[in-house]
């Protein structure tokens, strides 16, 4: 068991979920929206969090949707990483999902949970930052759909009681050339030293990183340098490494200096592969 008493809600509609969450907050409770639950259970067990109520969104049809049409791909927030990967509908996102935790946990961890959790890496955000994705949120004003980049700044910035319902990825991104790599210190299944995702649109590379700094990010300055073909590869790589939005992250997995070393090697390989037509 997890060492705290929680009240469990299983709504069947978005309005039920939102109302339950809102009323719990008014009552002074500490509710959490709950999907895969991996992080909530492990952190509760460790005593890092003590939710007093959880609102399980897995039986809400909108949150379970996974379909593609002429407009693109629509992914419910309660879809698991494994469902997204197995669908093969967005290969870059599938590749990111396939490197988070292990396979069995990928069958539980959800897209919404990875984006909204407290673990800093949030690697599923990288393909969404690159692909002009939009996100549907349900809150006090009903449903609103906004650019993903407008509500994701290192982490999701939601309004009180708001819940992530769906992610929408435009059709062009599903077929665009891409690159994804995740470097870890030792084991394949681990948090990233540097995780990078790149997507090409109209010949220009877009690139986003996780593990490199204390939050995932996409940088237009780094993209401008890496797309400047007037400079040699090594110069572009060195220049890009100077443009991080903050000091490189340093922890037991690797120092900031080592992360920069890994980044430069990775960017070298990426640009060489692209130059040689391997991407």
């Amino acid at each position: 068991m997890i060492p705290c008493d929680v009240v469990y809600y299983r709504p069947g509609t978005l309005m039920e979920a939102y109302e339950a969450y809102r009323l719990l907050q008014i009552e002074g409770k500490k509710p959490l929206y709950y999907a895969g639950g991996s992080e909530i259970i492990t952190m509760s067990r460790a005593g890092s969090i003590r939710p007093s109520a959880i609102v399980d969104i897995k039986r809400i049809p909108e949150c379970m949707l996974l379909s593609a049409n002429d407009e693109g791909l629509h992914i419910g927030s309660a879809c698991t990483l494994n469902q997204i990967k197995e669908s093969r509908l967005f290969p870059l996102l599938g590749s990111s999902c396939g490197r988070i935790a292990d396979h069995t946990n990928q069958c539980r961890i959800t897209l919404g949970g990875n984006l909204c959790g407290t673990i800093i890496y949030r690697e599923t955000s990288l393909p969404l930052l690159l692909s002009d994705a939009r996100v549907s949120l349900f809150g006090s004003q009903g449903m609103r759909t906004v650019p993903f980049q407008s509500v994701f700044h290192g982490r999701m910035r939601l309004k009180p009681s708001e819940v992530v319902v769906q992610i929408h990825v435009p059709g062009w991104a599903l077929k665009a050339p891409f690159f994804h790599v995740k470097h870890t210190t030792n084991e394949k299944i681990d948090y990233p030293l540097v995780s990078a995702a790149a997507l090409w649109k109209d010949g220009n590379m877009r690139i986003a990183f996780s593990g490199l700094c204390s939050y995932p990010f996409r940088s237009s300055k780094i993209e401008a340098v890496l797309n400047d073909w007037s400079m040699p590869v090594s110069a572009r790589v060195d220049k890009a490494a100077e443009l991080l939005p903050e000091e490189p992250y340093s922890d037991v997995e690797g120092s900031g200096e080592y992360r920069l070393f890994v980044l430069k090697n990775m960017l070298h390989a990426l640009l060489e592969d692209y130059t040689n037509g391997k991407i």
Binding site: M1, I2, Y8, C107
Partner: protein
């Protein structure tokens, strides 16, 4: 809307049978299986989702039962190692290939391998097998034998 607070009786579908259990919302599926249903095949290891000793199959996919609340398992089809009844091809293959030493991780590995066969009736590519097996840890390091047993499950159907 379903709402559970305090002790509640729910019905879990385990190994093809409905079982009434009394749970709190904070109770883990692993603990309920072991302590209320006496299904001790799912083992508590790390209880942190890392080791895989507690793996069961929910709706055809492997799940670490230490990371599932009993209340959220309501309405789903749960299969534990006891539900294999010693007849699954992977069980016979494990015996044939000596794919265990102390045996503590075995039930978790069996469930992952059985789920692999449910989802991939024909032998998948090697990287798929490796990916599925990486979800579990064997501290006796029987990994080569376990992988051989998976191949045996497909090649010999466990016979």
């Amino acid at each position: 809307m379903v709402r559970y607070e305090g002790k509640t009786v729910i019905t879990l579908n385990v190994n093809g049978q409905p079982h009434e259990v009394m749970v709190r919302p904070a109770d883990l599926l692993l603990d309920v299986l072991r302590e209320q249903l006496g299904l001790t095949g799912a083992k508590p290891g790390c209880k942190n989702g890392d080791c895989g000793a507690c793996t069961v199959i929910i709706d055809g996919w492997p799940a670490k039962s230490c990371l599932v609340l009993a209340v959220e398992a309501e309405g789903h089809v749960i299969l534990t190692v006891e539900g294999l009844e010693g007849k699954a091809p992977i069980q016979k293959s494990f015996v044939k290939d000596n794919a265990f030493q102390c045996g503590y991780c075995t039930s978790g590995f069996l469930m992952v391998c059985h789920a692999l066969q449910m989802q991939h009736p024909d032998m998948p590519e090697e990287h798929v097998i490796e990916e599925w097996l990486q979800s579990n840890i064997c501290r006796c390091t029987s990994y080569q034998e376990i992988r051989r047993a998976v191949h045996g499950m497909y090649n010999n159907k466990g016979l």
